[in-house]
Symmetry: C2
Subunit: 211 residues, 2 copies
């Protein structure tokens, strides 16, 4: 059975998605800098590769037919890490995926990444990085799904989402658990057809909202 490679598996969404995928009997290869961060997950379907995204990490792609890029600094680390991880590590991952003929690259992007010029202030470098990482994937020829969540919250999974941007700015949000469940759906049930989704907490079951 082919594996799904999760890049950034020890982050909050990465860890949730890893757990959900393993529960769904999906084999998962987790790419992390420190394997101790995944020590609470004990499942024979999980293999762990320790690598620093600031170096080369192409070996991890062998035997993986799907890749999920959920690594990232959020908007809170320095812009140096935004450039080196959110953009450059993503661009390298796309290049490795292409070389390994990966069948589906799933990118966790961000709302706003479609139009960085509409953003100002401290978030702009992060949004530019996500925009350019998405563009690399789109231009690469690797089949993709790009997911652009609203502002992330720690609410529990409602399992109900919307792909339509709400007019009320307070509703431009989605729980990390909902994002992880979207990843579960996309990895296990969706065909890659080069789509870009914005996702928010909403009213529709995930499968309905993404169909």
């Amino acid at each position: 059975m082919k594996q799904a490679l999760i890049i950034g598996a020890s982050g909050q969404i990465g860890k949730m998605a890893t757990t959900l995928l393993l529960e769904a009997k999906q084999h998962v290869k987790a790419l992390v800098r420190d394997k101790n961060k995944l020590s609470e997950i004990t499942n024979p379907g999980l293999s762990i590769t320790e690598q620093d995204l600031e170096g080369a990490f192409s070996d991890a792609f062998a035997g993986c037919d799907q890749v999920i890029f959920v690594a990232g600094s959020g908007g809170d680390t320095g812009a140096d890490k935004t450039l080196l991880i959110d953009l450059w590590a993503a661009a390298k991952a796309v290049q490795y995926a292409k070389a390994h003929q990966v069948k589906h690259f799933i990118m966790i992007s961000s709302i706003g990444a479609d139009d960085p010029e509409a953003v100002s202030g401290d978030m702009k470098p992060y949004i530019v990085a996500k925009h350019l990482a998405d563009k690399h994937l789109i231009d690469s020829g690797v089949p993709y799904t790009i997911i652009r969540p609203g502002r992330l919250t720690d609410d529990t999974a409602s399992l109900k989402i919307s792909t339509v941007r709400p007019e009320d700015e307070n509703k431009l949000k989605i729980s990390r658990e909902n994002v992880a469940n979207v990843l579960l759906h996309v990895v296990t049930k969706a065909e890659p057809n080069n789509q870009i989704f914005e996702i928010f907490d909403g009213e529709q079951p995930i499968e309905t909202a993404l169909s």
Copy 2:
């Protein structure tokens, strides 16, 4: 007569290149954030457009057949500006150049931009930004010349350069005045043929070294 647009004309190399081009009777449009920084240049061939590279600046491209991108933060400003100017403003400039059917885009890049993975430490975000900006230009279809100078010095122009990387690391350098003279040559005498040059202080006249 068509104009050459210089983006970043108030920087050290930008100002030198602007002066040299005007002396060679080339019409120049200078794109700067603050026109007072060019107040010492009084030449009827110069027009100045004030715009912030962090916003939109496509209007400046009208009527320009060549574009020189020499804006940049060097390696010394914060990585946020590296991302927003060295990479994002460059990517926008390439997009505007394509929309305006510019005939020749001349990018001042940096030695090392061919292979960011060979670089580590504080310079890496800058080198990644330059690499990705160059890649945008290369992939754009806009005819280009990419110039990658060694470490910049304030020596006076020797007008002698080399395009071969010297083995002695101490010789991986070039004066800003030599870089400006290379720009003069490329703008006024070279045909755009999608070449990438590394340049260093050397022993050959500029025209010979670049031919």
